[in-house]
Each structure stands twice: as C-alpha cells, then as structure tokens.
C-alpha cells in the first residue's frame, strides 16, 4: 500500500515537471510562431496580388463540398477592387492539396499557388513541381476548368501519372472560382455591361 502511494506520487511528480517544461516552452515560443505564421500568410496573399496597394482584407468565408472552411479576400488599390483571392483545397491521392487562387475583376484566374500537400513524391507532387501545369490555369474562366487527359489549350490537361492530384487541384480551384462567381458574379456582369454601353 505504501509502495503504491510512492509510485503514484513519483509518476505525478514527473508529469507535473514535464507539464511545466512544456508550458514554459510554449509560453516563450508561441508568440514567435504566431507572428511568423501571420507574416507568412500575409506574404503569400501579397504575392498573389502584387498590384494591390491597400492591405488585403478578408471578405468572407465559404465551405467546400468536403465541408472544410475557407476564406476569401478582396485586394484593393486605392479603394477599387483589383483582385479576388481565395484559399481552397482539393482532395488528392493521399492528402488535401491546399491552395491559394487569385482572380482578376472579371473572375478569370490570375494565379494558382499550392501551399502544402502530402502527395506521393515523384508522382503526385508534380502538380507543384511542374510549373507548366499550374500555368495552364492562368486566364481561364470558370467554364473552362475541366480536366482532360488529352492535349488541350482550352481546358486543363492532366499530368500523366498524377491524374488524381491533377483532378484535386482542378476541383479545388473550381470550388473557389465558383464561390466567388456566386458572390461577385452579378456585380462583375453589371460592370461588364456598363463598359459595353
């Protein structure tokens, strides 16, 4: 009985000491981490809309078909919108491929950037490594976001050996563009009509 108490107290003492060590480390590292993460996010957003002069502000939230929450942002230059940016992800072969998509005011894609993924090295990770694949998205409108396995200039051509990852990227981008078309599409259409007049 006495032995049991001694063992228990010994374990508790170790656990409390370990908790203290972890707590102190967390206290001193978490502010650094928080600032670094915030800065990284801002830099990524800024890189997506280099022509915006005002700070990029979040404009709303949306959730995709796989139920994860994402944010979209409006980049403005002296008050006028110049680009829309949205975070998004597509379900790939072994991970969610997290991306940022930027669109111009006509809601055509300006740029797609892959933030992180866990696809198979050598196969799925080609969606990030092969610049030609992501370059295909530039200038495409929502209706053009179709993945084909044949050579195409109009749509998106899949990487052979990485079809699932290619589809994940295409679907993720499509979700983001669809969301912003639903939100801002009407405004864009009126603006376009006004120009036509």
């Amino acid at each position: 009985m006495k032995d049991m108490l001694k063992i228990t107290l010994g374990l508790v003492a170790i656990f409390i000491a370990a908790g203290l060590v972890m707590g102190v480390t967390y206290k001193y590292t978490s502010p650094v981490r928080f600032i670094a993460e915030k800065k990284e996010k801002e830099e990524a957003l800024k890189a997506m809309a280099p022509d915006a002069t005002d700070p990029i502000k979040p404009a709303g939230n949306w959730s995709s078909s796989h139920g994860k929450p994402y944010e979209y942002y409006m980049a403005t230059s002296s008050g006028k919108p110049v680009a829309y940016i949205s975070s998004t992800a597509g379900k790939g072969y072994s991970s969610y491929i997290a991306m940022l998509v930027s669109m111009d005011t006509d809601l055509k894609i300006k740029d797609v950037k892959i933030l992180h993924h866990g696809e198979t090295p050598g196969l799925g990770d080609q969606v990030e490594d092969r610049i030609l694949f992501l370059d295909q998205f530039k200038g495409k409108a929502l209706s053009q976001l179709v993945l084909l396995k044949t050579e195409t200039k109009e749509n998106i051509q899949a990487i052979s050996g990485a079809t699932i990852s290619s589809r994940a990227v295409t679907n993720g981008v499509k979700d983001a563009v669809q969301t912003l078309v639903d939100k801002y599409g009407a405004g864009v259409r009126t603006a376009a009509q006004e120009v036509a007049k």
Partner: protein
C-alpha cells in the same frame, strides 16, 4: 556495465557497432519514410539527435527516483516532453524546416531507438556517459539517414540536397523513380545493410550481421 567508462567505445558503438538503423535495425519505418531526400533525412536526424541526448540525460538524472515498476510510462512521458519541446521550438524558429518536417517530428515519440537507449543505457549509467551515448546513437541515426538519403535521392531524382546533378542536354534525366517511393526505401536499406556487413567482415574481421560489442 563496469564503473570505468570508455567514451571512445560508446561513441564507436553508437555510430558503427550498434548503428540504430543498420545494426540494431530499430526505427526502420521513419528511416524509410523520410529518406526520399538527403535534406529530409538530415533534418530528421538532427531532431532525433537532440531528443535522444536530452532524453538520455533526463532519464539518467532521474534513474534513482523512477520506480522500476513504472519506468516505461515515465520514459515515455520524458520522451514525449522533449519531442514536444523540439516541435514547439522548431515551429517558432525554423519555419522552413518545420513546414517539411512538422508531420514527422511528433512521430519521434514512438521511435523504438529512443526508448531502447533510455531503458538499456541511461537508466543504468551516470549522467555524462548517458549524454555521450544518446549523442552517439543520435549521430549514428543521423548518419544512417543521410547515407540512405544520398543513395535514394541520387538514384531516384538525380539530385542531392535538391540540387540537380544528373543532367543531359541541360535537362534533368529521367531517374529511377522507384528509389524514392517506399519500395525503394526497403531496397536501399537492404543493400546498405548488406554492404556494411560485407565491409565489416572483409576489412574489420567482424562477424557481419548485427551484434556489436555486447
């Protein structure tokens, strides 16, 4: 263990005689998982090196205090603590590394080699030899991962540390893709183990095939 401590033997044991990966054949899963590139292998090795040194030091300091009946939970908790500290520090001060390694760091808690050194060595030895043993074992693990990484990345991607080496006509050549997939990891591991055993037998008169000084 005798009272006289031979640091040279401990270091030699950790790196060659009882190399965690090639000789003790412990922690093979992470060794296969992270060595698709030299850089990943090296960074993982550094994290393990730090954790092993700290764990061995802590266990050695507390060895008289820990009741043998509950030593395994105590060791696991000490390991988990140091891994968490490593994780938190890396997340704050080594962001680029953490982005690539973050997923793997937490797995160090379950590395058999860390627990086995705490149980086999640190719980029976004084502070300084324990630290040296942890560092030597960590260094052996690091070297093994780097070797595997060099072998696999060179054949599988034609590059080393992300720098393309095998090129023809200015373009990267098509490498042996299988080497950077998990299958290739097992090939590389088996081949290297075999080579090291062969070298040991041929040049150092060892038995080749596991088992070091004790």
């Amino acid at each position: 263990m005798s009272n006289e401590v031979n640091y040279g033997t401990i270091i030699k044991n950790g790196i060659f005689g009882e190399n965690p990966v090639f000789r003790l054949a412990l922690s093979l899963c992470p060794a296969v998982a992270v060595t698709s590139g030299v850089k990943n292998g090296f960074l993982m090795g550094v994290a393990v090196f730090f954790v092993m040194t700290m764990v061995n030091a802590t266990v050695s300091l507390l060895r008289k205090f820990i009741n043998p009946k509950v030593r395994i939970p105590s060791y696991m908790f000490i390991i988990a603590t140091w891994v968490t500290v490593t994780d938190l520090v890396m997340a704050a001060y080594a962001r680029d590394v953490y982005k690539q390694m973050g997923l793997y760091i937490m797995l160090i808690v379950a590395f058999a080699i860390v627990l086995s050194r705490a149980e086999m060595f640190a719980s029976k030895n004084k502070l300084l030899p324990s630290i040296v043993d942890g560092a030597a074992m960590g260094m052996g693990f690091l070297l093994a991962l780097v070797l595997l990484g060099i072998f696999r990345e060179f054949l599988g991607k034609g590059s080393l540390w992300g720098q393309q080496i095998l090129v023809s006509d200015g373009k990267a050549i098509k490498p042996l893709l299988i080497m950077i997939l998990p299958t290739g990891g097992f090939f590389a591991m088996g081949l290297m183990m075999g080579w090291l055993n062969w070298i040991d037998r041929k040049f150092f008169g060892g038995t080749g095939g596991g088992g070091g000084a004790h």
